[in-house]
Symmetry: D4
Subunit: 188 residues, 8 copies
Amino acid sequence: MNIRTRLVAGSLSGLAVLAGAVAATSPAQAADAAHSARSAHSARVAAAEPVVQTGTLSADAALKIADAVLKEAVKQKQRVSVVIVDRSGATRLVLKGDGAGPQTEESARRKAFTAVSFGRTTSELGKGITGGGPSIADIPGTLFLGGGVPVASGGAPVAGIGVGGAPSGDIDESIAQAGLKAVAGQLR
Amino acid sequence: MNIRTRLVAGSLSGLAVLAGAVAATSPAQAADAAHSARSAHSARVAAAEPVVQTGTLSADAALKIADAVLKEAVKQKQRVSVVIVDRSGATRLVLKGDGAGPQTEESARRKAFTAVSFGRTTSELGKGITGGGPSIADIPGTLFLGGGVPVASGGAPVAGIGVGGAPSGDIDESIAQAGLKAVAGQLR
Amino acid sequence: MNIRTRLVAGSLSGLAVLAGAVAATSPAQAADAAHSARSAHSARVAAAEPVVQTGTLSADAALKIADAVLKEAVKQKQRVSVVIVDRSGATRLVLKGDGAGPQTEESARRKAFTAVSFGRTTSELGKGITGGGPSIADIPGTLFLGGGVPVASGGAPVAGIGVGGAPSGDIDESIAQAGLKAVAGQLR
Amino acid sequence: MNIRTRLVAGSLSGLAVLAGAVAATSPAQAADAAHSARSAHSARVAAAEPVVQTGTLSADAALKIADAVLKEAVKQKQRVSVVIVDRSGATRLVLKGDGAGPQTEESARRKAFTAVSFGRTTSELGKGITGGGPSIADIPGTLFLGGGVPVASGGAPVAGIGVGGAPSGDIDESIAQAGLKAVAGQLR
Amino acid sequence: MNIRTRLVAGSLSGLAVLAGAVAATSPAQAADAAHSARSAHSARVAAAEPVVQTGTLSADAALKIADAVLKEAVKQKQRVSVVIVDRSGATRLVLKGDGAGPQTEESARRKAFTAVSFGRTTSELGKGITGGGPSIADIPGTLFLGGGVPVASGGAPVAGIGVGGAPSGDIDESIAQAGLKAVAGQLR
Amino acid sequence: MNIRTRLVAGSLSGLAVLAGAVAATSPAQAADAAHSARSAHSARVAAAEPVVQTGTLSADAALKIADAVLKEAVKQKQRVSVVIVDRSGATRLVLKGDGAGPQTEESARRKAFTAVSFGRTTSELGKGITGGGPSIADIPGTLFLGGGVPVASGGAPVAGIGVGGAPSGDIDESIAQAGLKAVAGQLR
Amino acid sequence: MNIRTRLVAGSLSGLAVLAGAVAATSPAQAADAAHSARSAHSARVAAAEPVVQTGTLSADAALKIADAVLKEAVKQKQRVSVVIVDRSGATRLVLKGDGAGPQTEESARRKAFTAVSFGRTTSELGKGITGGGPSIADIPGTLFLGGGVPVASGGAPVAGIGVGGAPSGDIDESIAQAGLKAVAGQLR
Amino acid sequence: MNIRTRLVAGSLSGLAVLAGAVAATSPAQAADAAHSARSAHSARVAAAEPVVQTGTLSADAALKIADAVLKEAVKQKQRVSVVIVDRSGATRLVLKGDGAGPQTEESARRKAFTAVSFGRTTSELGKGITGGGPSIADIPGTLFLGGGVPVASGGAPVAGIGVGGAPSGDIDESIAQAGLKAVAGQLR
């Protein structure tokens, strides 16, 4: 029997579509938004199938990303750490770069967590946070500085890459994107 | 047989009355308000009775709520988690929905905690939080995004239901309210 | 008016009966035993009633216990702390005695937690712990040194009193029992 | 393209085979054993596929298990809590039963965690723990009292069910098994 | 017999003087101010004396305060918790009032901690916190809602009393002040 | 001027007496023993005096001890850390020696905590711990390896010194004793 | 063979240069900036050398700093604590001053952590934090009140000194600077 | 000027010598032994040099080790995680292997921590732990199951590699050793 993952089977919509749908909502009002594009189908199937399949970045892919992040950091002369977490929030990879500060492990982890939670880059999400009232920035484990990028597969975020240590979030994000590029061609 | 509890016996005032009393106070100034409507009676009785009775949602009711939340989430095509905590803050139920993000367990828990702590929905409470100085949002364990609703019985909050994962707090709250509705007819 | 709670209504069996039932099981094999004597009735009722009543020691009773503990400690020339937790594990009272060591708050808390969890004194429970394999002593938050006594009402443990600081668990227990005695006459 | 999950594709061996392989090793010496039967294939595929699929119990299945656990506990007149965690260790479901002690949430969680970590019941695993030197019982988050059972799908553990609160681990396990039975027919 | 402590011996300045000195500094800029009035003398003596004496509220006094807080709360028909911490930040007393919310233990603790840390009421301190940049509100363990009052002896804060649970910080503070009044006559 | 503290005033019995009293009790049975010699007097006085005085090692004395520990460690060619905690368990000093391992900060802290909690050296206390059943070693924050020594003043422990990092507890203790000697002449 | 530290070999630029480079970036936008001046060389060397050398303040130097801080605090009549952390974020030294408040250990630690993380004083860094949106102040473990100063060696931050307890951050910083001065002549 | 690292300058003795010295001590009695061979010189130099150099594995070397661990695990058909920590205990790298259990991250971390703390493999160290009284196994953060190996450079442990997930500690260790071999040729 063919046990194609429900996540894949239930969705042809890519992350772009998903992000677009969410983008209409200001992050400050958004609460803790997950992507809902495929929810209806998913839940319907769930009644029949007790085990759902969740995509997780392979260890090999995680190493490739870390390697690419390291190389890009050298090229940009930055000292950074990189953390990759999966969609359950569990650690996939942590690598503290040479000379990276003690704050970079946790900042990178939270950026990765935030990106995989909301399926968008932390720089985009951060634009909606103003400090004037409750916002998703109040949710534990999140950080809305640039440097977190989601990894999507089958239309759903399967991992988050977080980079911390450069003097600006833009630089951190460009390094994280270089990491993502190393495996992006193989993602669907 | 008459199984009314002392909490019930001591109070005819419903949650509406209670909430009204508190509503006069801006949340930002409110400190950590508990409902005081029945305090005088309670404390007087306490002197005589070493054991007071506290209402707790039954496990059956918790499952009913979770089931209703799941069904409503499918209907609204959302991926959410739901958490129910009792008036002591202890966990009654946690259910992570299919495809819900890693941030949803803790955001749902905090919404539930906040709702049962203050006896009002988190969306109402959040309106008074402006980010301009100390507020009840500084109290550990709280979260003032929409999606938390109190469960009242005998005029006192006995549980909080928190839902997290939809792209806006309004949606989370509507799903939580669907959960509450599943047992509301049986509550006094 | 009749303020009996459902917990009381559902059970005439006192703690002695309960403890007897459990005593037949060696603690080392017992896993995390809760009292089951009234479970059948409770659960049956639960289907009909979404809110169950849980007995909690009143604040007044907690103060009475603390006062009696303090007096007994002076009488026995001991420096102790006392902690009372309710059946949900939440703190009811903490009082650090004059000159009590820094370890006494946590040791007293764990004794109280253990006593209310298993419905027996920690000294009884500790007899079954041998260190030779898995046992209930591996459950987080527990401590099996003498000094923890359960408070029962309506046949169920509603609180635990823990005392720590004396040179032996027997002394700690005798002080905790003095605390219990201060309210025991009023318990049903 | 057909993205069958690697976990499923790579293995025809069921849990029985797996458990057998591990059973040859005494738990006390076993370190933190994961199941290795399909590792070679998995890693080979990983080079080509950056996203691996991990089975997770559906929310519906989790509710079914919780419901069955509750019913069995009533039948056996026990007050228990049940926790289900997925293979990443993340919470899937928590349900505190009526009258269950405050220690049951954490004991049930750890039993579930242990069962999904090692792919065997906690009662089996516990037989090899003697307390005489380092053992897997020293690994944080584990508990080797009866009451934890793994849920297998496609030859790999995808979840752990933990039950705590009965006076013996055997009873806790029989209740957990009743929960597993509720979905076992649908598992592959 | 003369039981004056070195702290007392070294200072005739009361808390009023102390508070006045600190009051000149806006809390938002104040960093974590301790009272410095007597520092010169203390340190000079310290060179000669390896053991300094620190005032701590007695257990009896703590019980008196808790009792007065409870009575005042009944009078004001509020459901509150009270926490007393000593100058080292260690717990002296915790009492959760009947019907007090689950957030009240931690909010009361933090108010007590803040009051004993800075030697002023939390309501005074809170006036200087605006949310517009770094402030002492960023220091872990603090809370700047009304309800925390310092207990001074010999011109130095020796304890903090924190009350949480009323619908406004002003009410919490008036209840805490009633507690302080119960022992104030005996303080020097 | 007479700066004797109430603790001193109430007791002529030194630590030796105290330790002797406790020594009669096997640590394994001892529960969390505090010294009780002067309890009766203390508590009697407490009724009259709301503020009790607790001895604390001065910062100067702490630095002297750390300096002596460092010198002794060099002399013995050991790489160690030293931690001093006061009687409330709060940190007085931490110094990580050059080349000391990452485990030494926490092991030194726990030895210090244990010594000040029970008023005896950790090597003495450790002799009674056999691993065969519940013991004071189960109390959180303790460690019964050699290297922890109490600092007594006025017949009561006022601080604990903990040293960790040498290849045996005896060496750690000898280094800690060298630290104590640096201030012992000034202690009463 | 000559194993000169890569950190030293790769850089003649002092902290001034480094700080200058970073200063061009507003802290509020800066994300978690590490110093990048020498990154290119470092990483190039890394390919050849598996072990890099990290500068750490010696224990002797830490004691000298603590001693100078204490003396300056007495001179300024302030009650403060001082914490020194190394570039990995690990504790080097903690000293709680006589009469310093319970909040000072953690505030001093976070200032030290922040200073060594970003290589600038916390007072400089704090100027860019406005509370109006995400900023580096959201990174766990940081605190942007005055009183944290970095210790640089070989052009890189090797430690952070944090002081807390004075009524303003400026005073805390002046005391921390006095500590730095005690070893500054020996730093390169 | 030549700033050769003091650690290197001060020692020609390799890890073998070091380990030999420690090996004479039974782990069960050993307390938290650090290597003392070069302590005398180190401390003497410290008086002159305020900054000491500590060896840390480069990020490149960490990636090489992780890659080699992954390949060896595939070869041995095991599902493991690998963690590398530096001598300060800070994370250098974490990689969760495909299909590795949820317990493997923490077990691998603790093995790595233990190996770098004591400078020996966890399998060697574990032989001396019997469970019959206090031992170094009581130190927080340690784990004495096979799979932890130290990385030495210049005669001192600079990192620990921990592997967890195979059915026995011997297998875990052989995989960790394969990781070490990937960089061992370059270590001095």
